[in-house]
Subunit: 347 residues, 4 copies
């Protein structure tokens, strides 16, 4: 058996404690350090997990040669500095989504990781949620056919962020899911937004996307909404899926579609519509974060590939950037090009 | 008492017979002619309404001086020719939505109507549906506050049209409702579509819109969908509305929002979220088409203003045209400008 | 080909015109007479179906030897007199549910029909509704296993009857469906009711039932309810079904249950719960009344057995009677015994 | 300020730890002891709440004069012995529902509490859930009118108990809610059940109830069900309520009903149906157990009356007993009589 990966968690704000708890419970990991400037935050964690050491800053952790990996759960503006320091010190690094505050930062981190031969993993937790995994299976098995279009609504009342827009806050969920399901970077994005409550902090955004495969997508993000919606519809040539993350039955598969018999023989089109059974497949209740952090560990020990891969993380940052560019240009479509020499999209 | 308006109905396809039945039952109207090239279609109507005369073409009807008004329910490509002939003959004209196949055609019809001093009414029936009327009341009463944004999904499986796109088929519903509720022409539209089933017939379209008042809107139209959706969310500064035309309770009013207390006093923002009662107001069950045609009659006899006014009809055609232009330009936003001398939007 | 069955329809109130229309459209039938005391009701029907003759009373129809069958859609208190006259005259008879106002009346009708060798069919239309047919198939195929219990709610606001209770009005639906799905007469019923609005007209009733097979059932009937419910849950040893007659997906099949492994080996019980896929099978949209009346015709011409058989009709009346008896006895359970020599329940 | 009530919690199984946590967090209480035979269970609690002392049995706690009150969360079969010992020792006692395993036990406990002048409180937590409190307010304010009938479904898949039936397990919820909302003991109950999975452990029960005020009720309880239902409908003469404990909007108030104008003037009835607005009142998210335990403390210190009063606890046990008696008598209705000298129902 492999020795567990010795991990330090940096940032004990809203999300960090969840990472701490999951690493603590994982057989593949040994939680050795929690890092936060706030002594109170460290103490709250240490009271629950007394074996864990606290540190005020990342430096002391990086000097500790027994630490294999660092997980970063700090505000996105600090990701680059912290992650690059950890990578330079030869540590494997897990960074909460989004990977960095710009694609140039994200690419620089990727370059350091490659150079140092360590794992750099962005934390797109949704890729480990059982419904998303099930949808990916259905697509890969050919059940859905080619994906014609996707629409997604991710809206609720609150919580407004004061430093980033709804695009940086909620967008990574949809952009990573689309990237994972379609396996490609968008070709173009065009977007519209409004800052309804706080000045210059867009809290509603409408985003249209095209993909190289001809799939198109529409994403609606908002912190202002009458009721919580987490609804993604995926329309394929064979079947259609509705994924509602708030429902008891998160996935419903519709055996529905329009069929065009050989148009040659009729001189003109004759469409038939298929509406067959609807199936809600059984979805296991597993904590996605636990699966995600376990995969980080096995990527370190065995080199197993990551669902939430570096390529996904880079593409999500590129997508956000393109959305922001379109917003600045009043909705002009922005063209995305994966940089030369970048990993192939399907990686 | 005023004498009833003597009406001829042209076009007995899918929708025409509904117009026939409603005129027949209205006290304000007397149905005198049904016009269709297809003798079988005329006979089916006349069997049910034996007092009505049939005519093969519009000409003979226009020569009859006792005919006051003509209602046109033919394909949109024929609207201009039929409506202009009727208007030139001094008849009042009701035209099923959309008013014409282009804004130049629509404006030409408007000019003839003005010149001849007759009523020209586009048939935007949704403006007479009790839920839409109720929403308009709530907005006009200030219940909702300023409208921050609107999102609308109008999707179902089928029916593909072979001659027009989903934008011409389903778009007029949303565009007329938005025009009615907001009282203004969009400032810009940008759109994306795909022809999933029939070549060159877009069957899914994603449309983003800005308005002079800063309201933004997102509209999703599709003939391919896992299940029928008719859901419009209207988010205002005071309350929010969800309008679901397929639900037993078509309107739900949410006393929800985000409130920003005086930011001066705190140095930084402090948001509070309000989530109060949700009310489903009682909505009467009335046939919108009956209300609409009655209003056409009273506009003729009394000059009462129309909910589905000519200004609405013109703006809907302008909006569709702008969407089509954006589609041709791969999603470039199209700017809409109401022509000089046009009626003010609120007309 | 067989000659169509020549039918007279008696009673042109609320439901009769639907029977008229369906017979008119059926190839297997020829509608020859409509019978009603009200000349206006006859005229309204004859205007739509000009070939049909009108009659003021049943007598004249019974004298007409070319009439093969009579369909009776009058108030239940008149069923016995009309049906027995028609049967005595050698006509095949269809009677709207419930078959008669008492089991002695119903049995007397059955005896006449047997003696005269004609078909007597009660009109339990729900047995021809596609969801009920589908559920019966699932049960017969063994998909559901043994049926442990059934619960049913059939409630809405209105319409109060002034002559019969909610048990006579709504009860036949549930009692016939249970009789059809389970294939047996209840062993006992106990019931509770209240006359909330009109004196001595129970408008809410709660009915508990046991069956010889050990299945138990609970039925809730009401004309007073916050919202319309038509929900039947069928819990079997293998799967469970929810049948909601008001839903877009009327049937949902749950692959759920509790499994008890061999208790011997453990000394004590260990239950496991199964929650698998949920399937909404595609249900065809067919008018049940049309299927029902067609079956009446083929029963006459070919002797094909009836889904809504005489045995079902007799058992439904027996069940209502037992419910009424329990109500009179303040909820005492009433035992049902199929009379000696009666058809076997599964007939 | 009053000194906090010094409490011992007995029983650290499924529910006990919730009581522990809530007492720990309450200002009105000081948690001093946890009692359980299982050392491991005590340790798990003490690790989280280090200031709490552990005890293997209740005796040592009762000897401690600084302990004011005991909360019992053990199996129902042990309630009488533990509670009577605590009451005899002069302690105030909170007992998880149901109060005792029989009404004679429950009455004996009540007698001791009265004699010793201490508080005895049954833990009917649902009476502290915000939706139930809101419904009670609506009823007390006269919004609903007289309550005509109530129907309740409380079903889900699992968890089967091995020692008590579904009536003892789920019944106390509905029986206490009905007792609280109606303020009266049932007059009669009749019940039917089946042991579907484990022998002699009924896992589905159908219960009909009458009340002295003429209200009737139907309760459905089951551990076997296709999907979780927690739905109670309350039909009043003025309005109707649907309470769904699993929904985002737990209460919906329907301004619906049937109105009978003066029947004298018409000679016969003429009903009109009212269907007005539907309102989902805002419900606060508060933990009911915390409110309940706080009330236990203030009842001790200030003598404030209890929502979950001793009278409610006694009546719930009487109701369960009557249901069991009806089950043994194959559904015969059982008459309930509050013993002479008992507190008035509204207490």
């Amino acid at each position: 058996v492999t020795a567990p990966v010795r991990v330090a968690v940096v940032g004990l704000g809203y999300w960090g404690p969840n990472i701490v708890r999951n690493f603590y419970e994982l057989d593949e990991a040994e939680l050795v350090f929690v890092v936060d400037r706030d002594a109170g935050a460290r103490e709250r964690v240490q009271r629950r997990f007394p074996s864990v050491r606290g540190a005020e800053s990342l430096e002391m952790v990086l000097e500790d040669e027994t630490v294999d990996a660092v997980a970063i759960a700090t505000p996105v503006s600090t990701h680059f500095e912290l992650a690059s320091a950890a990578l330079q010190a030869g540590k494997h690094v897990f960074v909460e989504k989004p990977l960095a505050a710009s694609s140039s930062e994200a690419e620089a981190l990727a370059a350091i990781a490659t150079e140092r031969g360590v794992v750099l993993m962005p934390g797109h937790t949704f890729l480990y949620s059982p419904p998303v995994i099930k949808i990916k299976e259905l697509i890969d098995d050919g059940e859905i056919g080619d994906i014609l279009f996707v629409t997604s609504s991710r809206v609720n009342l609150g919580l407004h962020q004061s430093d980033v827009s709804v695009v940086w806050d909620l967008g990574p969920h949809d952009f990573s899911i689309l990237r994972y399901l379609l396996g490609e970077l968008p070709a173009t994005v065009s977007a519209m937004s409004r800052s309804c409550v706080l000045p210059d902090i867009p809290d509603v955004a409408f985003i249209n996307m095209t993909f190289p495969s001809d799939t198109i997508a529409q994403v609606q993000l908002s912190w202002l909404a009458p009721s919580k919606l987490r609804r993604t519809a995926i329309v394929g040539t064979r079947k259609m899926i509705v994924y509602d993350d708030t429902a008891t039955e998160p996935i419903r598969v519709f055996d529905s579609g329009a069929d065009l018999p050989d148009p040659e023989s009729f001189g003109e089109f004759r469409l038939t519509y298929r509406t067959g059974d609807i199936v809600s497949p059984r979805i296991e209740a597993t904590e996605p974060l636990s699966l995600e952090l376990a995969e980080f560990c096995t990527a370190i020990t065995d080199g197993t590939p990551l669902r939430s891969s570096l390529a996904v993380g880079l593409d999500v940052v590129r997508t956000i950037e393109a959305v922001e560019e379109s917003l600045r240009a009043n909705g002009e479509p922005t063209r995305l090009v994966a940089p030369a020499g970048s990993r192939r999209p399907e990686a």
